[in-house]
């Protein structure tokens, strides 16, 4: 190997991703519907959206695995159709399934992928060793991956996408199906990679994952971008604080809800059988004071009361609409499960 000679000339700093009217149809199903997006380089970008929103299709389009039906998608300035080979050199993909060969050891898997990226034998060996160190896989590297835990397998899969020195790492739901410890392992690995300067595009429907990892968030639904920005920008875009009240007696939750609605003039949210009531507070802290006064007048005992910024879950639901009415029953059920966590 010649010492570090740059492979080809780098294009002038192009956006990481540029999608213009990106549409992908599978038969009658429209997965991406004129998606517009420009994402600068040098960041971790999270694509957020409910199941079936088009997240995976978008990642597969970036990885050149699906061709756009119409519109245009540029990855680091290269067109995914006309310059697919160049895009593939730039991109490392770790899909929803850990695509590692269970009958091969971790090291064998990494070396194979490195060879398929174009490395020679010794360069492939070096790349595999570097990735093993980087992702703390040394202990298990020479065991067959069939014996790995879920987290180890995902980390190895992540590693396999790294051995070609990609400019952009694509992670499609990197922690779906992992236990909390394994999730943290993968998060640590992703943070390490981001710190070392790799651009990362990840999809997730876990809001805490976006919170942990992403600099920039793109929310998509029905194959379109419905919001972009940093997490705090997104929270701010909902534009209002929330007042939370926890009453002492479940029987008074309804009355507390009515007071909240009367003061804030916005609908209160009250789960049946819960002591917890929430409503938007467009008037800010002044409304909190008014609510406290009214609750006292009505002799409603309160355990906790406060005003806060909306959580990411609330932002998400506000952006994508009410999942119960808007989506197929199965998908709605999953959304509810997630919110319940």
């Amino acid at each position: 190997m010649s010492a570090g000679s740059p492979a080809g000339t780098e294009p002038p700093i192009a956006p990481l991703l540029q999608a213009r009217g990106l549409t992908v149809r599978f038969g009658k199903v429209t997965a991406l519907d004129g998606l517009e997006l420009t994402a600068p380089a040098g960041q971790v970008l999270a694509i957020l959206g409910p199941n079936g929103a088009g997240k995976t299709t978008f990642v597969r389009a970036v990885a050149t695995l699906v061709r756009p039906t119409s519109g245009e998608l540029l990855v680091r300035g290269r067109d995914v159709v006309r310059e697919a080979a160049g895009v593939r050199r730039d991109v490392g993909l770790a899909g929803q399934f850990a695509a590692v060969e269970p009958t091969m050891t971790g090291r064998e898997n990494l070396e194979m992928t490195a060879r398929l990226f174009g490395h020679g034998r010794s360069a492939a060996r070096q790349a595999a060793t570097a990735v093993i160190d980087q992702l703390s896989l040394a202990e298990v590297a020479d065991r067959r991956t069939g014996t790995y835990s879920g987290g180890q397998r995902r980390r190895l899969d992540l590693g396999a996408s790294l051995v070609g020195g990609p400019r952009l790492l694509l992670l499609d739901e990197p922690t779906t199906g992992l236990d909390p410890v394994s999730r943290r392992e993968v998060w640590e690995a992703v943070r390490g990679l981001a710190a070392s300067g790799t651009d990362i595009l990840l999809t997730t429907h876990y809001l805490d994952e976006a919170n942990e990892l992403a600099d920039q968030v793109v929310v998509i639904d029905h194959g379109r971008v419905i919001a972009t920005g940093t997490l705090s920008e997104l929270k701010a875009s909902i534009g209002r604080d929330l007042i939370d009240v926890t009453v002492s007696d479940v029987g008074q939750a309804g009355a507390a809800g009515e007071i909240l609605e009367r003061v804030t003039m916005s609908p209160a949210r009250l789960e049946p059988g819960s002591r917890h009531v929430t409503a938007g507070a467009p008037g800010g802290p002044a409304e909190l004071a008014a609510v406290i006064g009214c609750l006292e007048d009505a002799s409603i005992a309160v355990d906790e009361i406060g005003i806060r910024r909306p959580t990411l879950d609330e932002v998400f639901v506000a952006l994508t609409g009410d999942p119960d009415t808007d989506r197929a029953p199965a998908a709605a059920g999953q959304m509810n499960n997630r919110r319940a966590r």
Binding site: A63, E101, R115, L116, V163, G164, S196
Partner: protein, 264 residues
């Protein structure tokens, strides 16, 4: 300066070029071979299955089948070896379908590998495993009483022809795996091969079938292919041209389908 360098993780270099066709195909093939030989269930079951079927034909059905002037074992073994891949090749379709469902194919397609090296690598590996089952099956044939009537050179020529068929059938099974939505479906689709194997001159003389079935048996590829193997064993090259023509046609039709289907 050196101290900070030590703590910085070694950056992974980007390869200067994309892999060439032999290199990429070799890696794809190596992985498929490792999977096959490191999964005892796959290769041991392959051997057991081929021995079991041969045993049944030879000793169970064989007594009831009249193969003309030759003894049934000498009639059966050459064609059984020639068609063994039709029995064991379902595993190829299953492996290809699994790779697709489990994301392995996506990983390969996201890499800068030449597209046809996926098919080439897969074909190389599976042809090699098929060659292995041809040789082990032939060994069982001798064990169960088959003897060469001609010279050993003629025997080798017949085995070589079987090896060509192994490549042909491999490509066909790869295509089945690529069209199957999952492994179970691939397994089911590969049963189509049984129809061609059974309604041919491979295990019974075609003349013993009812008249309406004989045209299918006569004009489908398997009959001339096994007849050519039998001919070679007695030093004749009749049927060889037709058998090779069928082989070439099947390869020519199914290879482009496989390459295009992999791209999807």
């Amino acid at each position: 300066m050196t101290a900070t360098q030590l703590t910085v993780p070694q950056p992974i270099r980007r390869p200067a070029r994309t892999p060439n066709v032999p290199g990429a195909s070799g890696q794809v093939a190596l992985r498929a071979l490792r999977k096959y030989f490191r999964t005892p269930g796959l290769w041991i079951m392959g051997i057991v299955q081929s021995a079991m079927f041969l045993f049944s034909f030879r000793y169970v059905f064989g007594g009831a089948i009249h193969a003309g002037p030759t003894s049934y074992v000498d009639f059966l073994v050459p064609s059984y070896v020639a068609t063994i891949v039709l029995f064991t090749g379902g595993g190829i379709a299953v492996a290809v379908a699994e790779d697709k469902v489990q994301g392995f194919t996506d990983r390969l397609l996201s890499l800068p590998v030449p597209r046809y090296s996926l098919v080439l690598g897969r074909t190389l590996a599976d042809s090699a495993t098929n060659l292995w089952s041809i040789v082990t099956t032939a060994a069982f044939g001798f064990l169960f009483g088959f003897r060469l009537l001609g010279s050993w050179q003629e025997g080798l020529a017949a085995l070589g022809l079987c090896a060509i068929y192994a490549v042909v059938f491999t490509v066909v099974f790869i295509v089945m795996g690529l069209f199957a939505p999952n492994a179970q479906a691939a397994q089911g689709m590969s049963l189509i091969a049984f129809v061609f194997a059974f309604i041919s001159s491979a295990y019974v003389p075609a003349t013993s079938m009812p008249g309406w079935l004989q045209p299918f048996s006569k004009y489908q590829p398997i009959t001339p292919m096994v007849d050519a193997v039998r001919s070679l064993l007695v030093g004749s090259t009749s049927d060889l041209g037709l058998a090779l023509a069928w082989s070439a046609l099947l390869i020519a039709v199914f290879t482009p389908i496989a390459v295009m289907r992999y791209r999807k």
